[in-house]
């Protein structure tokens, strides 16, 4: 039996593959990887040059950030995917959004006992701004939305529900389906809903209405006011305007629950 040299076999196989490719006119993946690494170097230099001059703008201008993100989207790159990406390292875009992510998580955590993990984008925006302090960079709602989209990767149920022209930001993994969402949207105008309002506007039967409202109560997203004139009112703390609410500590909150 002839012992075949392993080296020779591998080389022959590779030569065959190369020949096949050259025939078809396609490029080998290895060659492409080399090509890509060269292109990356040029690109990196160009980006470094830009960054050395304009890094401050990114932190200062919300408008610049929006246009920058839109451009990246058209190219097909995600500048926030990793802290190790060029964009993060050279332009500092990453740190801006990742820090914002931390602040968003902390605000949501602090208010969860009160609103069950649901908060309007406006309130979140205001509280994050307050937390950042007077001398920190301004943050736009667009910035918040992008930061929240990134937080979804960590599976803690971060999501956004459109209501009345803005969004409710969800920070707990409660299962909210279309029915829940639609009731939230209905409640947005006054901050509360009643069973009859739901039945009239949405044309639901009593059972479906009560089921959805019970779900919201269980998740802590709605509070029941049984003493309202007329029929009981289901209030959504997430929608409370600053005018008719005051901050409650977790202890007070648990005392209030029957």
């Amino acid at each position: 039996m002839h012992r075949r040299g392993v080296g020779a076999g591998a080389i022959a196989k590779k030569k065959l593959a190369e020949a096949k490719y050259k025939e078809r006119g396609t490029v080998l993946a290895e060659d492409q990887i080399v090509q890509m690494s060269k292109q990356l170097e040029t690109f990196k230099t160009h980006l470094e040059e830009f960054a050395s001059k304009h890094k401050q703008e990114i932190r200062k201008s919300a408008q610049f950030r929006v246009q920058f993100q839109d451009m990246c989207a058209t190219i097909g790159v995600d500048p926030l995917a990793s802290g190790k990406g060029f964009w993060s390292e050279m332009l500092g875009v990453g740190d801006f959004y990742y820090e914002l992510g931390v602040q968003i998580i902390e605000v949501c955590l602090a208010l969860k006992h009160r609103n069950g993990g649901l908060i309007t984008l406006e309130e979140l925006h205001q509280r994050v701004l307050k937390g950042r302090g007077k001398f920190a960079q301004d943050v736009s709602q667009d910035d918040l939305i992008r930061a929240i989209k990134k937080l979804k990767a960590m599976g803690n149920g971060f999501g956004m529900i459109p209501v009345g022209g803005t969004y409710l930001v969800q920070s707990v993994p409660a299962e909210l389906n279309m029915d829940h969402t639609v009731v939230l949207q209905l409640a947005e105008k006054k901050g509360f809903v009643t069973v009859s309002e739901i039945k009239t506007s949405l044309k639901w039967e009593t059972e479906r209405t009560c089921h959805v409202l019970d779900d919201l109560l269980k998740e802590g997203l709605a509070w029941l006011d049984g003493q309202a004139a007329g029929e009981p009112q289901y209030w959504l703390p997430a929608l409370f305007s600053e005018l008719c609410s005051r901050d409650v500590t977790p202890e007070e909150a648990s005392e209030m629950v029957p």
Partner: protein, 381 residues
């Protein structure tokens, strides 16, 4: 507000409507002025506003009048606003609702929200400046453009000039990076190239070594291109993620012990990034690093509960131990809610709920689900 002219509200030929928003009030600088609430419309060429009651009352302003705009967040009893800084009105301007104004800016007050989208579209139109190259059938009043430069009406010249320069700088910087054709097309080329390489890797064409694959993945990471190639050995990780995983393995041991062996991934994210201060981790970095714990034989594990909650768990804290102790606690107190359990153990409510659910899944606890909350009892069945 003296930059507006009376208008029929009809769009010209080649002028397109971009977005409209109802419930908007216009302010002349800081003053509420005589206009009521109405519908604000943005076209490719102008900003228009129509009174919501009296549809004949409609005013318009060319977009070229706009120097720049800023968002103003809402507050107690205040709606969110967009502040629009303007060039002075041209001398040949047609009549409008205001003869003169002491302000060089107006405010758009969004009483029924919609400022996010409006602001975004306005920003797009201001970048594209379509009114400059799309001629419309009727002549629109164009203000003296920025090229006119230094000669201007006296008064607010200093501020306006600064704003104008700021805007020009920004535009120039943005064009430097973005409209520089070679830059954008180069980036697009690289995305295409990466897709081609990825599909070849998938189809196992050619002889790509493990090393080359890892190198390729790190290129993708640098550019922020989504990685379509996942291999079992490394997951979607790269050397960077492996290093991170090892670091995390050290940093997280103490906090995990303190918190009963388990922490939500969002808590870890905050903890690690707060400690770093700069060169922060992205959420995806964290997840990708945690996925490598097992492969690297570190004493931590990433775990995903049925609810979708992701946690990091000390491997030493076995499941049976946790469930057994949960059962003990519940039996001792008769019954527990997640809040009570959380207080008892010093855990977060989220994680204590997950533990109780796990114990229930294993058949040791059963639930009493009412509007008063979710309460767990030892399972006597």
């Amino acid at each position: 507000m003296d930059r507006f002219v009376w208008s029929s509200g009809l769009l010209e030929i080649n002028e397109t409507l971009v977005i409209q928003q109802r419930g908007v009030r216009l302010y002349d600088g800081e003053e509420k002025g005589k206009m009521d609430v109405g519908i604000l419309l943005l076209s490719t060429h102008r900003l228009l506003w129509r009174d919501h009651k009296n549809h004949d009352c409609c005013i318009a302003m060319p977009l070229s009048q706009i120097v720049l705009f800023e968002e103003q967040a809402g507050g107690i009893g205040k709606s969110a606003k967009i502040v629009v800084h303007l060039h002075p009105a041209p001398s040949n301007k047609e009549p409008g609702p205001y003869q003169t104004s002491k302000y060089s800016y107006i405010k758009l007050s969004f009483k029924e929200h919609g400022q996010i989208e409006f602001s975004r579209r306005l920003s797009e139109e201001m970048t594209q400046r379509r009114w400059e190259h799309v001629p419309v059938s009727q002549p629109i009043n164009t203000s003296t453009t920025s090229q006119a430069g230094r000669t201007r009406a006296v008064g607010i010249v200093g501020i306006e000039r600064k704003l104008e320069e700021k805007r020009k700088e920004m535009d120039k910087n943005i064009s430097e990076l973005f409209n520089t054709e070679p830059f954008i097309s180069q980036a697009k080329e690289m995305v295409e190239l990466s897709r081609s390489i990825a599909s070849k890797i998938k189809d196992k064409q050619g002889d790509i070594t493990e090393d080359e694959t890892i190198r390729f993945k790190s290129y993708l990471l640098s550019m922020g291109i989504a990685n379509p190639v996942t291999r079992e050995t490394h997951g979607s990780g790269t050397h960077y993620h492996m290093q991170l995983a090892k670091q995390l393995g050290e940093i997280l041991l103490a906090p995990l012990e303190e918190q009963g062996g388990m922490m939500a991934l969002t808590e870890v994210y905050c903890l690690v990034n707060r400690a770093r201060g700069m060169e922060l981790l992205s959420p995806e970095d964290l997840v990708n690093a945690c996925k490598m714990f097992e492969a690297l034989k570190l004493p931590l594990r990433l775990r995903i509960f049925d609810s979708g909650v992701m946690v990091i768990q000390l491997q030493s804290h076995s499941e049976e131990e946790m469930i057994a102790s949960a059962l003990d606690n519940v039996s001792e107190k008769g019954s527990l809610t997640s809040e009570e359990f959380a207080k008892l153990l010093g855990l977060s409510v989220l994680l204590s709920k997950e533990r109780l659910l796990l114990a229930e899944k294993m058949g040791h606890l059963c639930r009493d689900d009412s509007v008063e909350g979710l309460r767990f009892y030892p399972n006597l069945f």
